[in-house]
Amino acid sequence: MFFEGLAAAAEMIFTPYSFLMLFMGVAAGLTFGFIPGLSGVTVLVLFMPFVLPMEPVHAIAFILGAHAVVVTGDTLTAILFNVPGTSQSLATCFDGFPLAQKGRAAEAISAGLTSSMLGGIIGAIFLMAAIPVFRPLVMILGSAEYFMMILMGITMIALLGGKSFLKGLISGGLGLLCSLIGFDVVTGGFRYTLGSRFLYSGLDFVPVVIGLFAIAQMMVLLTTGESIAAKRGRLEGFRGILTGAAATFKHCKVWIRGSVLGALIGIIPGIGGTVANIFSYGVQAGTARDREEYGKGKIEGVIAPESANNAKEGGALIPTLAFGIPGSASMAILMSILMLKGIAPGPDMISKNLDITVSFVLVLIIANIMASFLAILMTPFLERVTRISIHRLAPVIIVICTLGAFSVNRRIADVMVAMLFGLVGFYMRKYDYSPAPFIIGFLLGNRMERALHISLRAWGPLFFIQRPISLVLLCCIIILVLWPYLKEKFIVSRLKASLAKEGQDETKAT
């Protein structure tokens, strides 16, 4: 039955018109990914009227192709300018931008794109393989585990993301508090709005992230007066691309783990690519032997999150297609397009419309390969951007960022928010408060609160020790918090032991 479906899907997809639609979708997705503030949702909404008159398979090719590769376009801005085009590439900045600063932009982009492609392919295969076993996997993880996962994510990034763990935790707490501004979905009231109508809907993520990362980073570079790549030398060009691709294949464990994590997280409705990206980075950096090197320009720090955010697309399609439960806003729009085309997501997608389901898998695979090759071809030109004097580049980037901040809700106040957070991010960087835990806390604060209230109602105040997985996660958090001190104790004791041994050897020798 599967092979019949595969043959029918291949027959639909491998036609010149379907390929043209797919190519156009991929090009649109890459472009939108490259512009800060424009996300996968924007792509879907913008092109929805355009695809409605098309045949279902052409519409799928265009719209899914565009949506699947937005995160690939994000990779470029995250590495080149420290600007995550959407939140799904947030963790890519942590090591991608330092690599660009070291003059290894081409290598980082190539590694990011190759791992994106591989992650996308694994995610698509996962989509096909996991549909039958989907339900028990989702049932294991409840709100208690989700609450703990967010807490662990913030702790992990605080530990890895900056020079001071204490300041990282403070930054995460501040981010969580800022996320509470506005309408409270749990009680239906308003919090910390200071009587301003603008704050009723809370602070939008895009202006905050644009300010905290892009504007602040440009301000920092302006004060130093350097280009993004502070280290001068020959441009890497295609040599860098090959090095990056080779690095990805060399670290195959990293992208396989990242892809599986991404696909698994993608399955859980409501979590999305951001958590996949951050969690995969956190697991990679947290389990590495040289974890101190992360955040300073480590290629594995690009491969792990990039493979996860593309693999997540395959996973996210599982609840949407198999059960008709969209896991995110973009999946909800995609589902509505399918329904308008007369395809009802649900169990029928496996029994009656298997060819359509398999065509999703094929589109995901081809779109990821196409996007990676397109972006890789552009890499040598993009690499030159990192060598341009910052006094030429920064004003242009800051102006584009203000447009990006405005375009989300079309409010001038969002531009003000972006600039305010630019200022905050500038001083945070100056005084060693890492902005990464702040943004993670800010992004996940509301979901964390919802998860907490559901857990409190379902299992009471001791929910975190009643559920085995959440208890394990709690233990991980405690170990993470104590880690800097445990590590120091361990190093000191080993140092003492080796000194004592050396002393004994010397005594014997004399």
Binding site: S164, L177, T224, K296, G297, P395, I398, R410, V415, K430
Partner: protein
Amino acid sequence: MKLKLPDWFSLLVFLIVLMFFFGAFSFTTRAKTIPLIVAAPTLFLIALQIVLEVLPSPIGRWYQGKNIQNQLAARDELAYAQTDCTASKPVRQDLVTVACLAVLFLLVWLLGLIAGGLLFIFVYYKFIAGESWLSSISTALIVGLISYGLFEVILKTSTWRGFLF
């Protein structure tokens, strides 16, 4: 005991979190759960941070020593890539950068997003970066045209027209 700029910044963060903490008491019991759960430990951590950095306690001295060691190690490894290289730059340069941001906002607010942005790029290029007239005007025009084409024509987003228009 003299407070340095980073200590003042930590104090400012402390005050902001303190406002969040006391602000939570005006909410209903359910609404204030998370604000209090988050704000209380954050306040404690900032207080700890300030005490460790400012007070001349043995723990504070140990912590400061550890910080200096960390910073020195980081500089040895990646001096050019770290953002803390701004720490040695004069405060005036920081103020100029902050003033540029304020000027951009003022221009955008008064003249609109595209015209304000265009003017900002021209002024920055010509009078701060010291670029030629041709380079300043052409860059400003290109960015303005691309922004207009993308946001106004393709995306049909009517951008902010400015307070004056």
